[in-house]
């Protein structure tokens, strides 16, 4: 008996030094036990590696950047849907979450499902709002402050002590040990990601992350904590290991239950010398190391699709502790005609 087919469109097929989650999400979908996934890649640039992985991706379309506005994106998705009959879209970039949240109802009316946080969930966990978020939900977060001018760094002094983290609203973070350094990073990050810039108290400790999935009703569907073992200069985990710390799972449950989080997320945590966890960031999407969760027994991409199409599923109760992921880069050999095709026509 053949299994049902579900067509899933996936973004973030890039793989530079801060790799996108698209390819590992697709690997999870291809290993789904409850359906056969037909994958539509949604790419922004013609050199995103996932475009050329023909064993993983059935068809690829270029889509406009979020900065082009939601109507441009909608028009493109309507065109792609008319050709491919998409069942589910899994957006994987921070910067595209907001446009997709805004389009959710319109896409749903076309038969395209997603599992995204609500707009208020998305906004209140934003880096800019993290201090209020911590107070509201009784979660320990470092002191932080959003600034719009480098002059505010010098005014800061009394609230946040050096060293501090200078963070972009979507990406990038640098540790600054002086106001001069902070000013330099302010300009570096704001020129790329815009304003505001977030100053956050640096917490010394060991970095842990949790990938999780909430059903929007306060229930945890999946959660896997890891310790980052190998961290790049971008702060990205290039190697990690699943751990069994109950405190992290309790914190994750508290987060899901109190926010009624809907969809996948990543909690970035720092454990200090007193073994207390501080929540540094909440990413409202799947992290690039998601395939470790699949590898330890929690196929989060599969569960996202099931929940998105309205299926009731049993939460994952366990995972293998002590499994590692070690990232690797792989040089593919690509025909020029494929590159020409995606560059000229926006489809491959």
């Amino acid at each position: 008996m053949s299994r049902r087919k579900i067509t899933v469109a996936v973004t973030a097929l890039n793989a530079i030094d801060s790799p996108g989650p698209g390819v590992p999400v697709i690997r999870g979908l291809k290993e789904a036990k409850t359906f056969d996934a037909r994958i539509i890649g949604l790419a922004y640039e013609s050199l995103e590696p996932g475009i050329y992985m023909k064993d993983l991706v059935d068809k690829v379309y270029q889509v406009p950047y979020p900065s082009a506005g939601i109507e441009s994106l909608m028009a493109r998705l309507e065109y792609i849907h008319s050709r491919e009959n998409i069942d589910v879209i899994i957006p994987n970039f921070d910067a595209e979450m907001f446009p997709y949240i805004r389009l959710e109802e319109r896409l749903k009316s076309m038969g395209i499902h997603m599992l995204l946080p609500t707009e208020s969930q998305f906004e209140e966990r934003h880096k800019i709002n993290l201090p209020e978020f911590g107070k509201k939900y009784n979660i320990k977060v470092p002191e932080s402050k959003a600034i719009y001018s480098p002059d505010e760094i010098f005014k800061n002094g009394h609230e946040i002590q050096f060293p501090l983290l200078v963070k972009g609203k979507f990406y990038d973070a640098y540790v600054a040990f002086s106001a001069e350094q902070a000013r330099e990073y302010f300009h570096k990050i704001s020129s790329k990601w815009g304003l505001p810039i977030i100053l956050q108290q640096y917490v010394k400790g060991i970095e842990y992350n949790v990938i999780g999935l909430g059903d929007g009703k306060g229930n945890r569907i999946a959660a896997v904590p890891i310790r980052k073992q190998y961290i790049t200069d971008k702060g990205k985990a290039w190697g990690g290991i699943s751990v069994g710390d109950e405190n992290m799972l309790k914190l994750t449950d508290h987060f899901i239950k109190s926010t009624k989080w809907r969809g996948p997320f990543e909690l970035e945590l720092m454990k200090d010398e007193k073994n207390d966890f501080s929540l540094l960031e909440i990413n409202p999407r799947i992290p690039a190391w998601v395939y470790l969760a699949v590898g330890v027994g929690q196929n989060i991409p599969e569960a996202i699709v099931q929940l998105a199409v309205g299926e009731k599923i049993k939460p994952y109760e366990s995972y293998e502790i002590g499994k590692m992921f070690i990232r690797y880069s792989w040089d593919m050999i690509v025909d020029l005609k494929d590159y020409q095709q995606i560059s000229a026509y926006g489809e491959l």
Binding site: I206, Y208, V243, D245, E246, K271
Partner: protein, 94 residues
């Protein structure tokens, strides 16, 4: 009785901490891993088996070229690290 001696007697290694044949230890709570040399492996095993400090010291003084004060210092360092890396039951770390 020396404080460390007292600690050692009451020290209990968490049951989920495993020592492999090659001397590799993985702490599943923290994700940290360590490699022990043969004498470290023996020390770990004896503590896990619940042997008290006097018995462990007696064994090491008999089988290794080590004097009492050096063994006691090494033992203290070892148990201190095990506590610091959260490999012992919290109630026993006082």
């Amino acid at each position: 009785m020396h404080l460390n001696t007292y600690n050692a007697i009451h020290m209990k290694i968490k049951t989920n901490i495993a020592l492999s044949e090659s001397g590799f230890i993985f702490n599943p709570n923290t994700g940290e891993s360590f490699s022990l040399n043969p004498s470290g492996q023996l020390l770990f095993t004896m503590i896990r088996e619940g042997k008290d400090f006097a018995k462990i010291r007696e064994y090491f003084l008999k089988h290794y070229e080590v004097d009492d004060s050096i063994f006691e210092k090494d033992f203290e360092d070892f148990t201190h690290l095990m506590n610091a890396y959260q490999m012992t039951e919290p109630d026993e770390q006082a």
